[in-house]
Symmetry: C2
Subunit: 183 residues, 2 copies
Amino acid sequence: MNTEPEKWKVLESEYIVKRPWLVARRDKVQLPTGVVYPEYYVLEYPDWVNVIALTDDGRFVMVQQYRHGLGGVYTELCAGCIEPGEDPLDAAKRELAEETGYTGGEWEEWMVISGNPSTTNNLTHCYIAHGVKLTERQHLDTTEDITVKVLTEREVYQMLEQDEMKQSLMAAPLWKYFALKNG
Amino acid sequence: MNTEPEKWKVLESEYIVKRPWLVARRDKVQLPTGVVYPEYYVLEYPDWVNVIALTDDGRFVMVQQYRHGLGGVYTELCAGCIEPGEDPLDAAKRELAEETGYTGGEWEEWMVISGNPSTTNNLTHCYIAHGVKLTERQHLDTTEDITVKVLTEREVYQMLEQDEMKQSLMAAPLWKYFALKNG
């Protein structure tokens, strides 16, 4: 049966967890085939942002931090949550300033992706910023413990090649960067 | 303070949801700075797989399906869960056969990434398979409603360029494919 897939119908919906950092919804859904699936879970999050931040001499401003899901320390793009009512670009600029102290530059939307379209309802707005400058000190939240790393393009490429960039929401825009650079 | 970030200490841990498709753990954690954070949520999943499956004439075997988190129909790589005790490569071959009917070919591990290292504990093993062939019929689960799409390289590249590949766990290996092809 190779017709186009259709939307599911939601028969019931309830929140099973509603905490500041975890909102989980259970939907009872009916597929176009008629099959009823009693518990399909969707995780609700605000939209997120991240940024490939490049200095005038082409270095990448990145952040190193402990990530408790995988239980390791990773070097990543600067990233964060969009606050209620905030523009995605403003959120990305704010996060970069807070986490690294770098500001300014020419910003461009790079891609808009999802961590998982089947289980999460939010999007991540990825930017690229050319010519950012160190103008401020870090201002971190009490739960943040972030070391700034300024890497050469070659170092970032090696990180990708060696599969050290685990976060797919960051690996995708970085591999796109190198695909377009090489293209 | 630009020292290296350290692991957090887990002071308490409890499961708040434990269902077949959603396992959520609450950890009370202490940062190296001494700050105690009473509720840090980790979502536990089995490891996942996906595959860039290429036919002998260089076309991409992909699948189109409804994704309830974002509420839309998307064309994606073939993907799925590793079953308990199953080898990741075997899982990827099984998922490709079940979802598309394509089998065989030369398989290579392409990258290992995470949907979100801060909130999820699992990895996704991405493969590339050259020379797969249509040898079987689809065998779908009752909750699956999947249309096979066999696309040219140009169609896949356009999909990426137009930001239609929303799933970051698939956008990353596909952009890597084009980065290495162009490199």
